[in-house]
């Protein structure tokens, strides 16, 4: 089980992590500023295992990989939305942050609700209701399974 942090549609990567923090030397120094413009206390409140649930087109805008990276660094278990912007989606898979296409969940939950995710079955349970998620294409699932794209570089030798 994890808590929901709920966001609306078209959340762009500037809201996830703003430009002025991107050139900080490490992601760990950036993560305290996650979602600062939308929820200034997000980084203090979120616990490892919690979920980000959003409406469509989550992660639009800039290609900054710092956006999925700060969410992963804060321990966000997965991001669930009806659709994702493509660069964010690809970046998230590449670093091993599950991004899950799930219709209807955004409408059914609010911030603070407890939900659970069964990644293998692609099922989210929220308040007694279940939601089925779209499975990842096998190529992407393989990247996620091995813990991200960089792992494959280390195992290729």
């Amino acid at each position: 089980m994890g808590k929901v942090f709920r966001f609306d549609k078209d959340v762009d990567t500037d809201q996830i992590i703003a430009s002025q923090y991107l050139l900080f030397p490490t992601v760990d120094e950036m993560k305290a500023h996650t979602f600062e413009s939308l929820d200034a206390d997000f980084a203090a409140k979120v616990q490892p295992g919690d979920f980000v649930v959003a409406d469509s087109n989550f992660g639009c805008g800039s290609s900054r990989e710092q956006a999925p990276a700060v969410l992963k660094a804060l321990g966000v278990r997965a991001v669930l939305a009806p659709s994702f912007a493509r660069i964010f989606y690809r970046n998230a898979i590449n670093i091993g942050l599950p991004v899950i296409v799930c219709d209807g969940l955004y409408e059914a939950v609010k911030t603070g609700d407890e939900i659970s995710l069964d990644m293998d079955e692609g099922i989210v349970t929220a308040g007694g209701r279940t939601f089925s998620c779209t499975k990842l294409p096998s190529h992407l699932q393989a990247i996620l399974d091995q813990g991200g794209l960089i792992r494959s570089l280390d195992s290729e030798e």
Binding site: D10, D12, D14, Q15, A18, S19, Q20, L22, L23, F24, P25, T26, V27, E36, S37, S56, N57, C60, G61, S62, S63, R64, E65, Q66, P68, A69, S83, A85, R86, I87, R90, N91, N94, I95, P137, H139, G148, L149, I150, S152, L153, D154, E157
Partner: protein, 419 residues
């Protein structure tokens, strides 16, 4: 069935006769561009590899453009890491020479190439008939180490242009109108292809402006056919040869085709806080501004500075308005200097800055404070994009931005009577 330009470029890069939208292919990349927004993190990941190696250093182009000159010790440390690594490894490196996409168009991009850039606006390269797409630093590192990557072949949305833009209406108004029509995710995962008689009326600067902004509709890439305008641009910029000049086949599959009469386009703005929040300039005439910005990879070329200077000549920037003019590259800066455009801007009270990303990305020069309003030729108007989270950004053309700088409030050049 025939193939689209996007399919043909990926087929070439994959060494295949034929590819189809929806397929995933392993490809060889022609170039990999990275800037100071993320390269320090790429280097950290590189140094943590078990067997760090670079497939082909000549494919890498590194550009410091986002925070240049640097403004804090933390940024200095990140940029030093990038500078040192580039020198040690013989990677092409630019600093203060311009915005990354402008440098890539001036010096590297050639038709038919497949290019990854660690910046979302890499789709600009479609103006030169190349498939450019934005990636994060992990994808970048994978390409740097292996020379290749994987791509999902995109479906194509085709935009068939006819007619000619009216006086005072620009390519920026066209692409903003299209984004307003299809929405911020209207082209998610898709290629946007621009063809038709109307293309002949659009300069290379116009074309870069159009392709550059397609990511604001979610596009994976934007593509245009190679013609005389392309070949003249290449000849004037080092005489690069095309890798291949592709056109979509008549029987290629397009998910959707849009017909656009260029003469129907009006001056528009994107209102806060979304690029698809489009309205005619006349809807927001009179909105007070604190700052105006003419520059960026979208509208910082010599054609944009000429348009701005022609409007500003003999006039003054309004009291209490900061007008930032930022040429997109050293080449553009020197051309503007030569043509006397910088004199016009300076005499009118504008601030002419060195080539960089400037306030377009909100962490360089010219950021705005709480409650302030910026009218900008930058790429985005997201909440807080240009500074404080409680500030407001309107996006418009070079003409609208300059006219607004004179008036102190948003107005089209036509309405102000300065065209």
């Amino acid at each position: 069935m025939g193939m689209t330009i996007a399919e043909k470029i990926i087929a070439r890069a994959a060494g295949k006769e034929e590819v189809r939208a929806g397929d995933i292919h392993t490809v060889t990349l022609d170039y990999l561009m990275s800037n100071d927004g993320t390269t320090h993190l790429t280097i950290d990941m590189y140094n943590n590899l078990k067997h760090p190696r670079i497939a082909d250093k000549d494919k890498l182009v590194w550009i410091v453009d986002h925070n240049v000159p640097c403004d804090s010790p933390k940024t200095a440390a990140s940029q030093k890491k990038m500078r040192d690594f580039a020198r040690e490894n013989g990677i092409a490196f630019y600093e203060g020479a311009g915005v990354c996409h402008q440098i890539m168009c001036e010096k590297y991009v050639a038709p038919g190439q497949l290019i990854f850039g660690a910046d979302s606006h890499t789709c600009a390269y479609g103006a030169l008939g190349a498939f450019g797409t934005g990636v994060g630093c992990t994808d970048y590192l994978y390409g740097m180490v292996t020379g290749g990557s994987w791509v999902l072949v995109p479906e194509t949305l085709r935009f068939h242009l006819t007619g000619r833009l009216r006086r005072g209406v620009t390519a920026r108004d066209l692409i903003l109108t299209i984004i307003g029509q299809i929405g911020a995710n209207g082209a998610n995962y898709h290629a946007m292809e621009f063809v038709g008689e109307g293309m002949k009326t659009l300069s290379m600067s116009d074309r870069i402006c159009i392709c550059n902004l397609c990511v604001e509709a979610g596009a994976k890439t934007a593509l245009m056919e190679v013609d005389e305008v392309t070949m003249e641009y290449l000849a004037a910029h080092g005489g690069r040869e095309p890798a291949a000049c592709f056109k979509s086949d008549p029987d290629a599959h397009f998910e959707k085709t849009y017909d656009i009469d260029l003469s129907s386009i009006e001056p528009v703005v994107a209102k806060p806080h979304f690029v698809d929040n489009i309205a005619p300039v006349s809807d927001v005439t009179g909105v007070k501004i604190n700052e105006a910005f003419l520059g960026s990879c979208n509208n910082g070329r010599i054609e944009d500075l000429r348009l701005g200077a022609s409007i500003l000549k003999g006039r003054k920037v309004a009291d209490k308005v900061r007008f930032l003019v930022v040429p997109a590259s050293r080449e553009v800066y020197l051309e503007a200097l030569e043509e006397g455009l910088l004199d016009i801007f300076m005499e009118a009270g504008a601030m002419v800055m060195n080539p960089n990303c400037s306030v377009c990305w909100g962490s360089c020069q010219g950021v705005i404070g709480a409650g302030e309003t910026l009218i900008s030729t930058g790429t985005r108007n997201f909440k807080g994009r240009a500074g404080d989270k409680d500030s407001f950004v309107y996006l418009g053309s070079a003409a609208t931005v300059t006219a607004s700088a004179i008036a102190g409030e948003i107005v089209s050049a036509d309405e102000l009577g300065v065209l």
